[in-house]
Symmetry: none
Subunit: 211 residues, 4 copies
DNA sequence: TATGAATGAGAATTCATTCAT
DNA sequence: AATGAATGAATTCTCATTCAT
């Protein structure tokens, strides 16, 4: 994969967060309340429609309180994107960890992804919007995934578990399938059961269109 | 495909609302200048960062002139999305029209898509952003494509040209591959030649990962 | 005089003024109205108490109009300081220009200064406040004056018109007298007629305290 | 001197308002820490830029602690101005007390003033800013000085130690020289040694410019 | 006495849109 | 058709001050 610059590892302190860390349990709770409210409100209304006021109202705190924990609207947003990345990586590696069969891992990874997306639709939408709100976070998010994916595919090809082929492009293509299907259900409200969608897509991924 | 709500047809009069049609050649030229400037500026800076002022400055006209041709900022945006849809459909049907071999049509359609995206990156970005700025236009755009794609796949399966399988999900999955690869080059600036990308992806689409 | 850095010449474009120049007579008038209102309001209430709202209210325009002509509150302020410098230099050189007798020039310069200050008390106050609001403008203002003053004193000493002595320190001391007497009347509201004040101060400047 | 309004005496209870007096040694220390931090921070950043937070951070205490010792931001400021007045009067009377020769007292007073200012530049800046932040305190400060100065000059003239002349105006003029020279070094960073500056200014004060 | 979380009023600034010329 | 001045609502962010612990 064409790594342009930054490493694919987890960002440690991206942005030097100015929002101070809470020092008491109460503060911790407030911070979480705001973060949750931000996920809900931004995820629903979009970054620009969601005002700080609407977030704090949802969180049940005063407007000023927001700035005790986050230095700006961009910062919460960015934090949500990073959080989504962390959770998703966790969920997927839980689902596929230690699977011997690469093709089965492919199926389970997709299922885990779609399940997670369905459970946190607002968070998913936020990541999509990150492309326009916080391109750096967005790119970091995708690079991290793509790099992991690429490695998996490359190793599988090496081991003869799958047909050989450019792992970079394949990684992007397979991520594209996952995204599209996530959008299919979240954005377009399709109600086909996840397991069914997973099986259809997996069949395509594994055996292609050819008769 | 699960149609939820609005029809998949082209918006009929979307702009008849207020954006008066120019009556002179000069007016026509001005309108086009503004539309082009909007594509460039919004595509680069994003809908919210792009002000009417920055668009008219780019177009070389006064701010007020904008409202002679468009009734609002949303309207130009919407018009650009519709335009992109029209052009893309044209380009793709040009590339695949009358092809007997469905699998080859798949390849050429993907190539045409990636080529077009590379030639109008700002316009492509605008369509992506439409998800957040003008969800209706966005959904209409995708539904139209998905529906066409679905039909093609269904007929091919029917005709025994490809393996049978749920055409709806497949359509979305294949569109997802195309989008991801478009983003791969436009957003992430990957420089792998399009033809190469197309071949790799096509190989995956046609024969899958299985050894 | 210890020139630390910047030249003593008039700043040409200090701050790259973002506030666009008006293009019509109406715009010109509005800009002037705002500038005048700013002088009045900031001069009276001080920089921090004077809100943009209070300035535009005084000027009889909407708040947004302010930003058509000035890019920020600091910018108007800065412009007022520069304007004061220009006017004052003009007034003083008018009053003393071509005077052969240095000591008489001293008297007339002081009179012109105090007269001007009395006629534009708000503007005077703004310059004083510049020390805290826009230190660069403040220093530029004083350096310019001090340098002119120093030259005048140095030449006079050279020519034998006054007793020799360090012209730098003297320039600052004499400027200090003028400022203090300006404050005496403007800030402390003393009502001694200017001419009287001038004579008393001039006597001190010329002959000192010694019996 | 033309007394306009408030008496020239020290403010009586200025802070008895709400700022509770500390009752323990620890409290006393905390109060002093805050006062010192306020001098440093306000003196450097100016009243408006200096937030309570920046002061308490500098002092190493929590924000709320500030309000145990001072009832408002204005109050600390005011207290600093009064403190400066007290110290300066002390320093000057130490330097000139019991001097028989008025002209020599003039020299030593100036030296003491400039020395003090150089040792506490932030405090000096605070007094200057008081003109805009706390005009009452500012006027009180200057009136007190001016009145003392005036008396000294009047008595000296009476006693035939100096040439006769309006003591009010002279007092302001001489104070103006001192202030300007203080600013010369503090604000403009001139590095001429104080003793030299004092001698030059004293020569001017005593014998004037005339050849 | 000390802490630090919470408040909410207030201010600057931006920008889509309107309108007189 | 074109201009550009004017509007004012909306939004983010800051900060002095209060208060429960």
């Amino acid at each position: 994969m064409s790594e342009t610059g930054t490493p694919a590892k987890d960002q440690p302190d991206r942005d030097a967060q100015t929002g101070r860390e809470p020092k008491t349990a109460r503060g911790e709770a407030t911070r979480r309340a705001i973060l949750g409210a931000a996920e809900k409100v931004i995820g629903r209304q979009g970054f620009n429609e969601a005002s700080i006021g609407s977030i704090t109202r949802e969180a049940g705190v005063a407007q000023g309180t927001f700035y005790i924990y986050f230095s700006s609207k961009d910062e919460v947003f960015s934090e949500l994107v990073v959080e989504m990345g962390r959770m998703l990586r966790h969920v997927i590696s839980e689902a596929t960890g230690g699977m011997a069969d690469r093709l089965e891992a492919e199926r389970e990874g997709l299922r885990a992804f779609l399940t997670f997306v369905a459970s946190r639709p607002e968070l998913y939408r936020i990541v999509q919007e990150a492309q326009f709100v916080d391109p750096d976070a967005y790119r970091a998010y995708f690079r991290t995934f793509a790099e992991g994916y690429r490695q998996g595919l490359a190793e599988a090809a090496e081991a003869g578990a799958i047909r050989p082929g450019n792992a970079d492009v394949r990684a992007w293509a397979l991520m594209g399938i996952a995204r599209a299907l996530g959008e299919y259900s979240v954005v377009f409200g399709d109600t086909t059961p996840i397991d069914e969608v997973v099986d259809i897509a997996h069949d395509l991924i594994v055996d292609g269109l050819r008769k």
